[in-house]
């Protein structure tokens, strides 16, 4: 199993009341509330957290990217990936992920990621995402072409990494007369690509068609099982059998040396007014054309206030009961994670350890306990459940590099 540490890198130093008064904490909440002095302190805190995470033996550090987002200070995931490439020695740098549609020039992304892979001596996992709805608006990118841009940018980046240049690329959204980057990845055929997501069916299907691991982001046990059901179905149609090496799971877990403090700190997972990506007006989080056409009707009903949020908005207590948030001492946490592993069987697990206003001291304690007590226990459980990571099972980087493909009916048998 591949075990990772994650933080959203929250910009927690702004007036929560100002956010509540405005009614949103994504996209349009004014950056007059962003204090770069606090920003500088927080960025350096997160670097300290990552260095400790490596020291205590986590396998990977998960990074992400959001824009106009008080809940996430990573306005450019490649920046932190580059920092970690230079400062760390062993951990995988797992980007989950670069929002491809936001790139007006995917070749530049391909170059940056190749540099990160080389500088880190081959420790990059280059995940890709579509980016949230508000990300499209924050960066001036057309939300109606989000999925097309995602798939075409992916194709262009993989070609830039694997095809001998110079060559020309004339796509629908990206046109390049010369593709000939003098920065190619160290890992061959190219760095592993993992695809994080929540419930978008199209993304799950696409990931399975590529044979890229899908990383379920904080979904419930039942939702996660449905994701794997769909993934495995598409895997069979594509000629292989899906397994733990194709599955990843991110969960909010705060560990402390006493239960009460753990629970108190875990409440900070809800500091973004209960929303996973900050509170946003529905037309910002799902601009027209961004969502799946099959969800359009449900969305407009919700946006008009005539239906409940299809993503739900459950209380902290309910989320604890549902194991969407886990908090406690290492012993408590391991027992609950064991159930998650038994039910959802991932080969990749990321613990989102700290959020909101959790102090640096408590955050570092959480990381230390994760690395020194929780993860060793989880590794033993994973071994007993035969939950192998893509590295351990030497899974192909992409479907086209598979050596075990069978016709769809044979795979199904």
């Amino acid at each position: 199993m591949h075990l990772m540490y994650f933080t959203e890198q929250p910009m927690s130093a702004y007036s929560e009341q100002a956010g509540r008064d405005f009614g949103a904490t994504a996209l349009m909440f004014s950056n007059k509330h962003f204090d770069p002095v606090a920003g500088s302190r927080l960025y350096n805190n997160y670097i300290e957290q990552y260095m400790l995470a490596e020291e205590v033996g986590v396998d990977g550090i998960m990074l992400n990217e959001h824009h106009n987002a008080p809940f996430c200070m990573q306005a450019k995931a490649n920046i932190f990936a580059a920092i970690l490439a230079g400062m760390t020695k062993k951990v995988k740098i797992v980007m989950l992920g670069n929002p491809l549609p936001l790139a007006e020039n995917p070749i530049r992304l391909a170059e940056e990621l190749a540099m990160i892979d080389m500088i880190s001596k081959g420790r990059l996992v280059s995940g890709f995402v579509r980016g949230g709805g508000q990300e499209q608006l924050a960066t001036g990118v057309n939300p109606a072409f989000n999925r097309e841009r995602f798939e075409e940018a992916h194709e262009l980046i993989v070609q830039a990494w694997t095809r001998t240049g110079p060559f020309r690329f004339e796509g629908t959204h990206y046109q390049h007369r010369v593709v000939n980057p003098w920065a190619v990845p160290l890992q061959k055929p190219y760095p592993r690509v993992w695809i994080p997501g929540v419930i978008s069916k199209e993304t799950i299907v696409w990931a399975a068609q590529q044979r890229y691991p899908y990383i379920a982001l904080n979904t419930s046990i039942e939702q996660t099982k449905k994701i794997w059901e769909l993934y495995d179905q598409v895997a069979l149609q594509s000629g292989y059998v899906g397994g733990p090496e194709n599955r990843g799971y991110l969960i909010q877990v705060h560990v402390s040396d006493n239960e009460e403090k753990a629970i108190e700190n875990a409440r900070q997972f809800r500091w973004m007014q209960g929303e996973f990506t900050g509170l946003a007006h529905p037309v910002w989080s799902t601009p027209s054309g961004y969502g799946s056409p099959t969800n359009r009707r449900a969305f407009v009903e919700f946006a008009a206030g005539r239906a409940i949020n299809p993503r739900g908005n459950t209380s902290f207590e309910q989320q604890m009961a549902d194991l969407r948030i886990i908090a406690g001492t290492p012993k408590t946490v391991v027992a609950k994670l064991k159930r998650i592993l038994e039910e959802t069987r991932p080969g990749i697990l990321a613990l989102w350890g700290n959020d909101g206003k959790v102090s640096q001291e408590d955050s570092l304690t959480c990381i230390r306990l994760i690395g020194q007590e929780v993860f060793p226990a989880i590794r033993e459980i994973a071994k007993s459940l035969d939950l192998k990571s893509p590295f351990e099972s030497n899974a192909p980087v992409h479907l086209k590099y598979s050596t075990d493909l069978k016709p769809a009916t044979a795979a199904a048998e």
């Binding site: 349009m28 608006l137 001036g140 057309n142 109606a144 910002w284 601009p287 359009r296 009903e301 008009a304």
Partner: protein, 152 residues
């Protein structure tokens, strides 16, 4: 453009020109569908007559589809063309430019720009009308258009 193909040109509350400096209406992508639709009317009772006080979910869905299509064809620059001002001078047909006096979607300054750029144009302002002149003041618009076509 094919200047000789048109005998008459009528523009009603038309996008296409960059909004006058200092006056950029809040883009539709930031507004709820029904709020944007309501913003097109001067008198909310007129909106209610056309769409009902609570538009149906079918209507909301249709607005979302329309918004998606406007994104697909007019995302960047948003709802205006940088080449259009240079082409308008070649229009040969007489032009009627109609604007609602309370257009909150496309400011009157855009109407004035059209009227100035088109070689043979007249600007008419319709009272008590928002952006959706055809739906809010249909008789006033019809009279302007028929007079324009008859006169020219």
């Amino acid at each position: 453009m094919a200047p000789a193909d048109l005998s008459h040109l009528v523009l009603v509350g038309r996008h296409g020109h960059q909004a006058a400096a200092g006056r950029h209406p809040r883009p539709r992508r930031h507004r709820l569908h029904v709020d944007y639709a309501r913003a097109g009317f001067h008198d909310q009772k007129a909106f209610d007559r056309v769409y009902g006080a609570e538009p149906s979910v079918d209507q909301l869905e249709m607005w979302d589809i329309c918004r998606e299509m406007s994104f697909r064809i007019a995302w960047k620059p948003y709802m205006y063309s940088q080449t259009l001002p240079h082409l308008l001078g070649a229009v040969r047909a007489p032009a009627l430019v109609v604007w609602g006096d309370d257009d909150k979607v496309v400011p009157q300054s855009a109407g004035k720009r059209y009227a100035k750029a088109l070689p043979n144009a007249k600007l008419e302002i319709v009272k008590a009308s928002g952006h959706c002149v055809d739906m809010e003041q249909p008789e006033a618009l019809a009279k302007l258009v028929t007079n324009f076509i008859g006169r020219e």
